[in-house]
Symmetry: C2
Subunit: 479 residues, 2 copies
């Protein structure tokens, strides 16, 4: 179709040249009729359904509820896409320091962990053993089989950013098992603690001869045990975990399309995940992300804005349990959609005040995408960080589909404030702020509409790969 | 005795006029041989004895251990002073939201609370009832008997500073009971939460016809229940608490005197409390205070400094359970010591970086005491806040004895950071910082030695009472 193409000449001219619809969206969501809705709807939802571990009836009920809600809007094409997986369930669990003194150790079994019963010689299925406390895998390797066999390994790794430190949670049990450890207690992966354990997934290496129980303990208790151990005193722990396989289970991703008026086969995807861990409410991880993405689509509907391309909302399931829904979606749609998706925007690292998004792809991708982000200048969310972040969608980046994760920050708090609450009892509505969520909704709505209405798909590409550099920097146009 | 009296002419002249011993103390503790000792000794102690609830063998063992340690120094006169009290013990306990959804509610029974068994018609001794959620006593009163009878009252009071908000913890059960409530769930008194309950004392009003169970829940869950309640939905909770009286128990205050060389009958008292709540380690409340006070006396010994007046270290017991030790000490010694104590300095609000102390008494008291605080200029701890703070010693202020509480602050954190951890599983060594504790030790040592060596006792008095204004502002001298 013949289009009025407004060449985008640079940041300064945004306001005078571009469609005022973007500032109307921002105004509608942050101070108009749309304000407060994401928070209110999320609160109602998480207060009703609570935590939503994949494999629970509660999650499936929550998914059915959202499907009905989205269908009731009347303007979206809604369906679900099932996948199956090997489930896991938490059971009764406890840990206690028994020497040199008795102390309850608040703990949470880690996802996919075996329980203690198989290795127990006690009527209650518990195991008890002396501990070795290490602060790194290097230290573990130095101790070797002689130092570790028959012991419980306690990891007291310093927090050095989530991406670095989470390796102890995911790999700690496998690596300790190779040296004959009987269990692994892992310091919760958080920069700050008030005595709360933070759960999450752990993974047994394929082919590992013995799978040992793995749980997280608090930062404080890991440090306690480390101090005692370094003094040369015996650290002894009793551990009981009744978790284990829940057999084959099913869950569903939700897909809801706001169909494009001109290029309905081309897509912009906004997304978050609807499952959560089983502590707290999953209001932050990822209720906030899912509801801000959803509210952005509802906002466009409420404002009567019909995009030229289809804006697809995907609410993934099973993210916490190994990106089950994200991977299922990719496998199902990669061939069909790899050259039809302009951009995928997820939010899975908090819906505090938005400051920008990540963006994968080539320089051309990012140069073009920066023009879109500049539309968020009124809410201060124009920062573009090159990255393939966005747990459910990062897999698409290897097909050259540009993906991004919403970046947010709570004013006055450190950048990693999100991890204070992540996978803990503290992941409750209390961490959410209505005005911050509104700005996240605005970011989703503006970015997705701008990309849905742009003259072209975002330039494809993989960062650094010449194959990806198929767009010229000055070429891409925002209409 | 004839003394060289250095008239203190003002702040600027401190450094050139005053005995260099004060800066020597500061140097010794913050960068010399004394540095890191308070932290190290506290860690060894709390890691060995753990939490120290009054009435436990563990606390009595810890007290005996400290008495031996203090005696082994060879230069202190050490004794203990027993007192008895009606004890209380925690039992198995749990709370669960049962409607509109099932959710475990992390909780802690409050000190002195009755259990649920007496009012239970269930085999496990639990009670279950619908909830009313209020955010203030005014709201409770408006609901009255008609709205509250037979219900569990949930208090979701906003945190408005510890002193204001703690009234809901102390009085919440009694006030709800008068309207026929069957239990009280109280939002933990903290400005910030990661899903942790904070325990503490509650008090039944004398003569209350029915004593009902009282426990704390998390900030997040109080807000959750309040949101549900405000939507008009039923909030229903099952509560099981097996706590109750532990009969008559005994504990002991520790008193250790570094005898004065010239006026051994006159005292400066440095103190903290050695008991703690039964969650975490009591490393902050009040391990830090007790060990900084103790280390200050050890510092004077190590440096060979003999004060002119006696510096008395008191490690109180039973503070958490109604200031039992502090009150016992006062009753035992008020007649004998009211005119012999120059000053009592406690630390029971954290041993982060010291910024000054409170000081009770008359204007004359504070004017004189400010001269002492100015000696702490090298560590930036010269702030004097008029107040009778210092839980174990505030009772002495009514006898005209000047008392103070060490004021501290963690850099980059809010003033009430202490209450993030207070009475929670987060009260562990992790909150302590060695360098901050060193400066607290220095503050204790400098203030106590300066007052022990001063020409006179600090001017007596009660703030605002003319009877207390018996010192002239320019009169008091620091030698």
């Amino acid at each position: 179709p013949l289009e009025l193409i407004i060449m985008y000449g640079g940041y300064q001219s945004t306001k005078q040249n571009l469609d005022p619809v973007y500032s109307q969206i921002i105004d509608y969501v942050t101070k108009g009729d749309g304000s407060g809705k994401a928070y209110k709807n999320l609160a109602t939802f998480v207060d009703r359904f609570g935590s939503r571990k994949v494999g629970t009836q509660r999650l499936e009920d929550a998914i059915s509820h959202l499907v009905s809600e989205l269908e009731s809007l009347g303007s979206l094409k809604v369906h679900t896409e099932s996948f199956s997986f090997e489930g896991w369930q938490r059971g009764a669990e406890s840990a206690e320091l028994v020497a040199p003194l008795s102390k309850r150790l608040p703990m949470l079994s880690l996802g996919s962990s075996v329980g203690t019963a198989a290795a127990s010689d006690s009527a209650d299925g518990s195991i008890e053993a002396d501990c070795v406390v290490v602060e790194s895998f290097n230290e573990l390797d130095r101790l070797g089989k002689a130092g570790i066999s028959g012991k419980i390994v306690v990891y007291n790794q310093l927090y050095k950013g989530y991406g670095v430190s989470v390796q102890y949670r995911t790999d700690g049990a496998s690596r300790a098992s190779k040296y004959g450890a009987v269990a692994a207690l892992i310091r919760s992966v958080t920069p700050f603690s008030i005595g709360s354990p933070h759960t999450g997934m752990q993974e047994y290496e394929p082919g590992l001869p013995v799978q040992i129980p793995a749980c997280c303990i608090t930062v404080e208790d890991a440090e306690l045990m480390h101090r005692i151990y370094k003094r040369g005193d015996k650290v002894r722990v009793r551990l009981r975990m009744s978790c284990g396989s829940a057999g084959v289970q099913e869950s569903r991703n939700i897909v809801a399309d706001l169909e494009g008026s001109e290029k309905p086969q081309e897509l912009v995807v906004v997304c978050g995940h609807i499952d959560s861990w089983d502590v707290g409410q999953g209001a932050m991880d990822d209720g906030g992300g899912a509801f801000c993405a959803m509210q952005s689509v509802r906002t466009l509907l409420e404002m009567g804005l019909r995009p030229r391309r289809t804006i697809r909302l995907v609410l993934f399931s099973g993210e916490e349990f190994g990106i089950l829904g994200g991977n299922a979606y990719y496998e199902r749609h990669k061939a069909e959609l790899a050259d039809k998706i302009s951009f995928m925007l997820e939010s899975d690292s908090g819906t505090f005040g938005p400051i920008g998004t990540t963006c994968s792809g080539s320089e051309a991708t990012r140069s073009a995408y920066q023009q879109v982000l500049n539309l968020l200048e009124p809410i201060g969310a124009t920062t573009l960080v090159p990255s393939t972040d966005g747990p459910d969608i990062t897999v698409w980046a290897k097909s050259g589909v540009p993906v991004g994760d919403l970046l947010t920050k709570r004013a006055g708090q450190p950048d990693d404030f999100y991890f204070y609450f992540h996978h803990s009892e503290g992941d409750m509505m209390t961490v959410q702020d209505p005005a911050e969520m509104d700005r996240c909704v605005a970011a989703f709505a503006v970015v997705s509409l701008a990309l849905a209405d742009a003259a072209e798909l975002l330039p494809r590409g993989i960062s650094g790969a010449s194959a990806g550099e198929d767009g010229l920097l000055s070429d891409w146009v925002l209409v």
